[in-house]
C-alpha cells in the first residue's frame, strides 16, 4: 500500500487517527457527563473500547509495515527522535506534579504555619496550625492519617523496578548479540514479572492506605500529592508493562533483528523513564 521511494517512506492515507479521535471524544464526553452526575458510563466504555481497538489496529499496522521491511534508516531515526521527545513531554507532565509538591512543602505550608512575612496568615486565619510534614492542612481535611513508611514495601518496590531495568538491559544485550531467542524472551518475562509484582505491591499499598491508614486522596495536600504522583506513575508502569508484554510476544514470533529493533528500544526507553520517575518519587514522596 505504502510508497517506498528511494528517499522517503510516505504512509498511505489512513482513517485510524480519525477513528481514534472519535473514540477519545466519546470517552471524555462520557466521563464528563458522569462527573456531572448525568450518567454516561455507557458512552465512556464505548469510547474506551474504540480507543483500545484503534491503538491495537494502528500499532498492528506499524508492526506490519516494520516487519515487511518498508522502513528505512530514516524512518528508524524518526521514531527515535519521536519517542525521545514524547518521553520529554512526559517528564514535563510529572514535573508539574513534582512542582506542586515542592511548592507546597517549601512555600505554602511554611506560610500557613506563619513563616517569613506570613505571620498574619497563621495568626489571623489558622492560629492552631503548625507546619509539620506530612500534613493534611490547617483544617485537617480527611481526618487523622498515617503514612506508608518508605523502608518497607516502597523500598522493595524500588529494588523491583531497578532490577527490572537490569533484566531488560540483559534482554537487550541478548538481542543485540543474537543470542538464542529463548534467552531474550526469558529476560523479558522476568522484566514483565518484576513490573507486575511492583504493580501488585502498589495496589496492596493503596488498599492498606485506604483501609487502615485513613490515607486517601482527600487527606489534604499530602494525600493529594501522594496519590496523584504515585497514581500517575502507576498508570505509566501499567502501560509500560503492557508494552513489554507486547514486545515479548513479538520476540516470540521472531520479530526484531540484532541490528534493527526500535520497537524494543522505544519500550525500553519508556521503561527506564518510568524507573527514573520512581526514584524521584521514592526520594521526594516517601523519604524526605
Amino acid at each position: 500500500m505504502s510508497t517506498k521511494t528511494a528517499g522517503y517512506f510516505v504512509p498511505a492515507p489512513s482513517a485510524w487517527p480519525f477513528y481514534l479521535t472519535v473514540g477519545l471524544f466519546l470517552m471524555v464526553q462520557g466521563i464528563a457527563s458522569y462527573l456531572n452526575g448525568h450518567g454516561g458510563s455507557v458512552l465512556t466504555w464505548i469510547g474506551l473500547a474504540v480507543v483500545l481497538a484503534l491503538v491495537w489496529v494502528w500499532m498492528g499496522g506499524v508492526i506490519k509495515e516494520s516487519e515487511t521491511g518498508q522502513y528505512n534508516d530514516q524512518v528508524d531515526m524518526t521514531y527515535r527522535w519521536g519517542m525521545s521527545w514524547f518521553i520529554f513531554s512526559e517528564v514535563m507532565f510529572f514535573a508539574a506534579f513534582f512542582g506542586a509538591l515542592f511548592y507546597a512543602r517549601q512555600l505554602s505550608l511554611p506560610w500557613l504555619g506563619g513563616a517569613g512575612d506570613e505571620v498574619m496568615t497563621n495568626a489571623l486565619l489558622w492560629p492552631q496550625f503548625e507546619n509539620v510534614w506530612p500534613t493534611n492542612g490547617p483544617s485537617a481535611l480527611g481526618g487523622e492519617f498515617e503514612i506508608i513508611p518508605p523502608w518497607g514495601v516502597p523500598f522493595l518496590n524500588t529494588l523491583l523496578l531497578l532490577t527490572s531495568g537490569v533484566t531488560l538491559t540483559f534482554a537487550h544485550h541478548a538481542l543485540r548479540e543474537n543470542k538464542p531467542r529463548k534467552v531474550v524472551v526469558a529476560w523479558m518475562w522476568a522484566t514483565v514479572a518484576l513490573g507486575a509484582t511492583f504493580l501488585y505491591f502498589q495496589a496492596a499499598e493503596y488498599a492498606e492506605a485506604y483501609g487502615h491508614l485513613n490515607l486517601t486522596l482527600e487527606s489534604g495536600i499530602y494525600g493529594s500529592t501522594f496519590f496523584m504522583l504515585t497514581g500517575f506513575h502507576g498508570m505509566h508502569v501499567t502501560l509500560g508493562t503492557i508494552m513489554l508484554i507486547v514486545i515479548t510476544f513479538r520476540l516470540m514470533k521472531g520479530h526484531f533483528k540484532p541490528d534493527s529493533h526500535f520497537g524494543f528500544e522505544g519500550v525500553a526507553w519508556y521503561w527506564h523513564f518510568v524507573d527514573v520517575v520512581w526514584l524521584g518519587l521514592f526520594v521526594f514522596v516517601y523519604i524526605v
Binding site: T3, Q74, M77, W85, F86, A100, G137, L141, E218, M228
Partner: protein, 539 residues
C-alpha cells in the same frame, strides 16, 4: 527541478474521505488553516459581543455571567483555536517544502493532531448550551473561581487536554522533520528562519503543554476527587495554580509570536531584495527568548503577594527579554536598510507587524516594571498590551504569510489593490480598537468587566467602533482569497511568485504538486536563503 514532476503513485482520494484519511502535509495544512479561519471567525464574533456590550456604560445586551463567558471563550478560541492551528497549518505546508522533505516525519500522527482539534473545540463550544453556562473564569482558569463553573467544567478541562495532545503531536512532528528530514546540504544554520522559529516553538510546546495538562488535571481532581492542591484548608494554595499555569502561560505567548518572527524574517528579505541581516544572531536571539521565557512567568503575578526577592528576580528577568527581541527588530530594519523595497500586501503586513508588535513590546516592558505593574495589572492597559502583540503581531503575521504563500499553493494571485485596501483598513481600525485601551487602562478601568464607570465612555466607544471596522475589513480579505486564489480567478502565479523570493519552496511549480519532493532534492547554493556571500542572482 523537473525530476519531481513524474510518478504520482497516489494522488488525493475523492470525496470527504480524502480529508479524513489524508496524511499529506499540504492537505493537513489546508485543513489546519480552514479550521483556524473558522475559529478566528467565531472568536471574532465573541469579541464583537464583548465590544458591543462595552460600547456604552450600563448593561444593554448581555448578563454579566454571559459576558465573562464571552471573554473566556474568546481568548481560548483565539489562542488555541486560531493562532496556534494557523501556525501549525503554515508549518505543515511550508516546512517540508523548505527543508526539502517529502512530508512531515510522522504523517499519520499529523492527521491525528489535526483531527483532535475539531472534536476538542466541539467539546468547548458545546458548553455554551449547558446548565450554568460556558466557562466564565477567564482563560487563565484561576481557582477557586473556575471551580464554581457548572456542568461546563469537565468539558473545559478535557478540551484543554485534547488541545494539548494535538499541540504536542504537532510539535514532535515539526521537530523530528527538521532534525531528521532535511535534504542533504541543508545544515541547521542554513535553514530558512521560519523553520528555525518553528523548531524553537515546538520545543517550547513540548516543554509546556504537559505542564498545562498537569495544572488542569489538578483542577479536575480538586473539584471532583477531593484533592486540595489549591485550597489552603488542606495545605494547598490557590496561587500555586497560577505558578503552574504561567510556567506554561508565558512560554505560550512566545509560542504565539516566534513563528510570526519566522514569517516576518522570510518576507522582509524578499521584498527588500536583500539578504536577511544577521541570520545567526536572529537564531541566537530566538533561542535566548525561548530560554528566558522559562524564568519570567511570575510577571503575571506581581500582585499575588510574592516575597520581595521573587518580585525583583522576575522583574529583572522579564526586562532582559527586551534585549534579544530588540536584536530581532534591529535586524529587520537593517535588512530593509539600503534594500530595494516594494510594498506588496505581504510586505505591508510584515511592516505593520514590525511597527505594532514593537509598540506592544514597549508596553510589555512597562508592565515588567513591577511597581508600575501594580497599577497596570488587570487593567485595560494589559489588554492593550497583549492585543498589540497578538493581533497586529501574531494575526498580522498569519495574514502576511497567507498573502505571501497562497499564490504558491493555489497557483493564482490575489488582487493586489484589494490586498492593499485590506491592509490599510486593518491597520487603521486595529489601532482605533486597541490604542484607546491604553488610556482607559491607565485611567483605572479594570479588565473583565461588563460595565464601567462613565468617565471611560469615550475610549470604549472608539474601541468598539474600531473592533467592528476591523471585523468587517476582514471580509475583503476573505473575498480576495476565495475568489482569486481558491476559485482560481486571479492571475496565474509563476513558480517563483515574488521577484526577490529564495528558498526551495520557490523551485517547485505553482501550485505546488501534491507530493513535493519524493526524493531528497539537490539544493543549489543560491536557493539557501540563510546566508549569501554573493549578490543574489536576478530571477
Amino acid at each position: 527541478m523537473s525530476e519531481h514532476h513524474d510518478h504520482h503513485d497516489h494522488g488525493p482520494e475523492p470525496g470527504i474521505m480524502r480529508w479524513i484519511k489524508t496524511t499529506n502535509h499540504k492537505d493537513l495544512g489546508t485543513l489546519y488553516l480552514w479550521f483556524a479561519f473558522i475559529m478566528f471567525f467565531i472568536g471574532g464574533v465573541m469579541s464583537l459581543i464583548i465590544r458591543l456590550e462595552l460600547f456604552q456604560p450600563g448593561l444593554q445586551w448581555v448578563n454579566p455571567e454571559f459576558f465573562n463567558s464571552m471573554t473566556t471563550m474568546h481568548a481560548l478560541i483565539m489562542i488555541f483555536g486560531g493562532v496556534m492551528p494557523a501556525f501549525t497549518g503554515l508549518a505543515n505546508w511550508m516546512i517540508p517544502m523548505m527543508v526539502g522533505a517529502s512530508d512531515l516525519a510522522l504523517p499519520r500522527v499529523n492527521n491525528w493532531g489535526f483531527w483532535i482539534l475539531p472534536f476538542a473545540f466541539a467539546l468547548l463550544l458545546s458548553t455554551l448550551f449547558m446548565d450554568g453556562g460556558a466557562p466564565a473564569g477567564g482563560w487563565t482558569m484561576y481557582p477557586p473561581l473556575v471551580l464554581q463553573t457548572g456542568d461546563a467544567f469537565p468539558f473545559l478541562i478535557f478540551a484543554v487536554h485534547l488541545m494539548g495532545i494535538s499541540s504536542i503531536t504537532g510539535a514532535i512532528n515539526v521537530i523530528v522533520t527538521i532534525l531528521n528530514m532535511r535534504a542533504p546540504g541543508m545544515t541547521l544554520l542554513k535553514m530558512p528562519l521560519f523553520a528555525w522559529s518553528w523548531l524553537i516553538t515546538a520545543y517550547l510546546l513540548i516543554a509546556t503543554m504537559p505542564v498545562l495538562a498537569g495544572a488542569v488535571t489538578m483542577l479536575l481532581t480538586d473539584k471532583y476527587f477531593g484533592t486540595s492542591f489549591f485550597s489552603a484548608a488542606g495545605g494547598g494554595d490557590p496561587v500555586m495554580f497560577q505558578h503552574v499555569f504561567w510556567f506554561f502561560g508565558h512560554p505560550e505567548v512566545y509560542i504565539l509570536i516566534l513563528p510570526a518572527f519566522g514569517i516576518v524574517s522570510t518576507i522582509i528579505p524578499t521584498f527588500a531584495r536583500k539578504t536577511l541581516f544577521g541570520y545567526d544572531s536572529m537564531v541566537y536571539a530566538m533561542a535566548s527568548i525561548a530560554f528566558l521565557s522559562f524564568i519570567v512567568w511570575a510577571h503575571h503575578m506581581f500582585t499575588v503577594g510574592m516575597p520581595l526577592a521573587g518580585e525583583l528576580f522576575f522583574m529583572f528577568a522579564t526586562m532582559l527579554i527586551a534585549v534579544p527581541t530588540g536584536v530581532k527588530v534591529f535586524n529587520w530594519i537593517a535588512t530593509m536598510w539600503r534594500g530595494s523595497m516594494t510594498f506588496e500586501t505581504p510586505m505591508l503586513f510584515a511592516l505593520g507587524f514590525v511597527f505594532l508588535f514593537t509598540l506592544g513590546g514597549f508596553s510589555g516592558l512597562m508592565l515588567a516594571i513591577a511597581p508600575a505593574d501594580f497599577q497596570y495589572h488587570d487593567s485595560y492597559f494589559v489588554v492593550a498590551h497583549f492585543h498589540y502583540v497578538l493581533v497586529p503581531g501574531a494575526v498580522f503575521s498569519i495574514i502576511a504569510a497567507m498573502y505571501y504563500w497562497l499564490p504558491k499553493w493555489t497557483g493564482h494571485m490575489y488582487n493586489e489593490s484589494l490586498g492593499k485596501l485590506h491592509f490599510w483598513l486593518s491597520a487603521i481600525s486595529i489601532n482605533v480598537t486597541f490604542f484607546p485601551q491604553h488610556f482607559s487602562g491607565l485611567a483605572g478601568m479594570p479588565r473583565r468587566i461588563p460595565d464601567y464607570a462613565v468617565q471611560f465612555t469615550d475610549w470604549n466607544v472608539l474601541s468598539s467602533i474600531g473592533a467592528f471596522a476591523f471585523f468587517v475589513a476582514q471580509f475583503i480579505m476573505v473575498y480576495n482569497w476565495i475568489a482569486n486564489c481558491v476559485m482560481k480567478k486571479g492571475d496565474v502565479a509563476s513558480a517563483r511568485v515574488w521577484e526577490g523570493a529564495h528558498g526551495l519552496e520557490w523551485t517547485v511549480p505553482s501550485p505546488a504538486p501534491y507530493h513535493t519532493f519524493e526524493v531528497p532534492p539537490r539544493i543549489s547554493e543560491e536557493e539557501i536563503t540563510a546566508v549569501h556571500d554573493q549578490p543574489l542572482p536576478a530571477h
